[in-house]
């Protein structure tokens, strides 16, 4: 352990493991440590089920839950956008070969007290009860406009350049509140109404990503890995190891110091030196600031979510203005099941989450919990969200952001690519896929 490394990495969350993989592939000498005995940090998938019960002080699981080993319970609920940046990273690095994915069966949204399927095809759109015929036409026109929109091509703007606020675009097409909710919250996945005043381009890009993703596999834009999200960091850790990265789990970190422009990390009495360090906020309590809280309720069910056509996996979005009392942030439900090898036979896992707004976070989830039917067991956790105080360029300490309340990995990937750029001084380029066989010399 007494060597010098190019990069020391603390914590094996997804962000850290992807960066570790990218750095190792580039030839950097990486030492990657975690204080836990398992991979994944805050975004791990707990296995066996006993670990989940133990973590929340609930004794041991009842026999009805089946074999504990059949469970892999995500602590942070997220799906992958089929055309999103994480999928691009998986393909670029060839980590896809270690994983298997399933398409999430449907995306749903609450509207006037009812759960509606978001139409994924033109045929479904005609049958939806989300809006009336006139509104449907306006909605369709707006979607067609956004599909063609290109920031670089003014002829596609029709009077709304990329910088005008999103409200201007809605006004141009005269769409009502139902279309606005669906486009802004269920499709663009904005978690508040703040986007209305921001430049329209961001929302249009999100709509384009959504439809690009949905066109790949059909019923929803989302993918989910078998055995849970915890497989993702493990896959990238393996990539890093294949390219020479050294992995050490179960390493308590005693000290992190800056010495002569380098970083010294002490674990179990041994000190290693690195030119820089990357890690999750939990390793750097003095260098991060709290920016909010997320409340998540992991619910075990013995049935599919009501009103979702018995989907084995789905997302339900509860837009902030559709719940009572109205709130600032949307509530999300991500549901996966035994079909993804994350739950015992016949069991479902629904994780309900939102950004905390009151002093009683659990009660904030109630409007969504009411739609889940009978809940066999519920585990509620409130997590602080942290961000680094500085960008690390001076200190050579690059800290990732906590996993936010969004239900996909786009913001996580933005953080990853941003740290990559700050570390390397150049933007990450998605080039040709990395070929593991080529590297082994043949």
């Amino acid at each position: 352990m007494d060597e010098e490394y190019d990069v020391l990495i603390l914590g094996t969350g997804l962000t850290e493991c992807i960066l570790s993989g990218l750095f190792s592939v580039e030839g950097k000498k990486v030492l990657h440590m975690d204080r836990n005995k398992y991979y994944g940090g805050a975004a791990t998938s707990l296995c066996p089920l006993e670990n989940l019960y133990e973590k929340f002080g609930k004794g041991s699981p009842p026999e009805s839950m089946g074999r504990g080993r059949d469970w892999n319970v995500d602590l942070i609920p997220k799906f992958l956008m089929a055309s999103g940046k994480l999928v691009q990273l998986l393909i670029h690095t060839n980590v896809t070969r270690y994983l298997q994915f399933k398409s999430v069966e449907g995306s749903y949204v609450l509207r006037e007290g009812k759960i509606n399927k978001l139409p994924s095809t033109a045929k479904e759109a005609l049958g939806t009860s989300l809006f009336g015929l006139l509104e449907m036409r306006r909605f369709k026109n707006l979607l067609q406009y956004m599909a063609k929109y290109s920031a670089e091509d003014p002829t596609t703007h029709e009077g709304c350049p990329p910088t005008v606020p999103m409200t201007a675009v809605y006004d141009k097409f005269g769409v009502g509140s139902s279309s606005r909710d669906i486009i802004g919250h269920a499709i663009s996945l904005h978690t508040t109404e703040d986007y209305l005043r921001l430049p329209c381009l961001e929302t249009i890009k999100r709509v384009q990503l959504y439809y690009e993703s949905i066109s790949r596999y059909g019923s929803s834009p989302y993918l989910y890995p078998l055995y849970g999200l915890g497989e993702l960091p493990q896959g990238f850790a393996r990539l890093s190891a294949i390219y020479g990265g050294t992995y050490m789990l179960d390493k308590p970190i005693e000290k992190i110091e800056q010495v002569d422009g380098k970083i010294a990390v002490t674990s179990q009495g041994e000190t290693v030196i690195g030119k820089m360090i990357v890690g999750d906020p939990s390793y750097f309590p003095d260098r991060v600031k709290k920016v909010g809280q997320v409340v998540r309720a992991i619910c075990i069910l013995s049935h599919p979510l009501p009103n979702t056509s018995d989907s084995l996996s789905c997302q339900i979005i509860f837009p902030q203005n559709q719940v009572k009392p109205p709130r600032r942030h949307d509530i999300f439900v991500c549901c996966v099941s035994y079909a993804h090898n994350v739950a015992g036979n016949g069991k479902f896992l629904a994780i309900v989450s939102t950004q905390v707004e009151t002093s009683n976070p659990e009660a904030e989830l109630q409007p969504a919990l009411n739609y889940l039917g009978v809940i066999d067991e519920k585990f509620v956790e409130v997590s602080d969200l942290y961000e680094p105080k500085d960008d690390g360029k001076e200190s050579k300490v690059f800290i990732s952001k906590s996993y936010d309340a969004s239900t996909h990995f786009e913001s996580t990937c933005n953080d990853i690519l941003d740290i990559y750029e700050r570390v390397n001084g150049k933007e990450f380029k998605f080039g040709d896929p990395v070929n593991v066989e080529t590297v082994c010399g043949e």
Partner: protein, 217 residues
């Protein structure tokens, strides 16, 4: 460094059904895990094989009477060194080769703990083979052949002493595993929960897998 052209481990032409299995290697650092794979897959041996970098996902085919068995071989990529092998590594593995060095008693003790780990972590139906490697160095032998054979018998493991250097028993151990693997529709752990997945490297469209030994979990 000795080298010869890669060839099929046995010369039968492929026929009948093709079954694919995930095979993982386990064992202490420097017992010759990567060398065994390199010998089996490419027919090569490097006296001073570096610690595993790069070669971590290789495939090789073994032809049996009526079946072609395709091994998808996972090497540890050095993650065994500080006990940081991820659960993903064992996931869906239908076969494992646990390797020790016959000139080093400690590696044999360690091999036994890997066998226990597999019995705990992997599928109950996994086919495990124990390989006493470096059999060309029998003048420095520290692990008794009969002791390892008896241990293997007790635990239901296949057992052979191998030499990646001379190629002795290398193909044979893979062949023995191929023969022992179940090749019916329910073969291996993978088919226990048949589902269809998507191939995200392709442009789109669902990609249902299944049938004989398909890795369709």
């Amino acid at each position: 460094m000795a080298s010869r052209a890669p060839q099929r481990p046995n010369n039968a032409s492929p026929q009948g059904k093709i079954c694919q299995f995930k095979l993982v290697l386990l064992g202490e650092s420097a017992v010759g895990k990567s060398s065994l794979v390199l010998r089996f897959v490419k027919g090569q041996f490097h006296e001073y094989q570096e610690s595993t970098i790069g070669a971590a996902f290789l495939t090789q085919t073994v032809c049996l009477q009526d079946t072609t068995v395709k091994f998808e071989i996972w090497d540890t990529a050095g993650q065994e060194r500080y006990h940081s092998l991820a659960p993903m590594y064992y996931r869906g593995a239908q076969a494992a080769i646990v390797v020790y060095d016959i000139t080093n008693q400690d590696t044999f003790a360690r091999a036994k703990t890997w066998v226990k780990e597999l019995q705990r972590q992997a599928s109950p139906n996994i086919v495990i083979a124990l390989a006493g490697n470096k059999s060309d160095l029998s003048n420095k032998r520290m692990v008794d052949h009969d002791e390892a054979a008896a241990y293997s018998d007790e635990n239901g493991l296949l057992f052979m002493e191998t030499s990646a250097k001379t190629a002795m028993h290398v193909n044979d151990i893979f062949l023995a595993i191929a023969e022992k693997l179940p090749k019916n529709d329910a073969g291996g752990t993978a088919a226990n929960r048949p589902t269809s997945g998507v191939d995200i490297t392709q442009g789109g469209g669902s990609n249902p897998q299944g049938g004989c030994c398909g890795r369709s979990q």
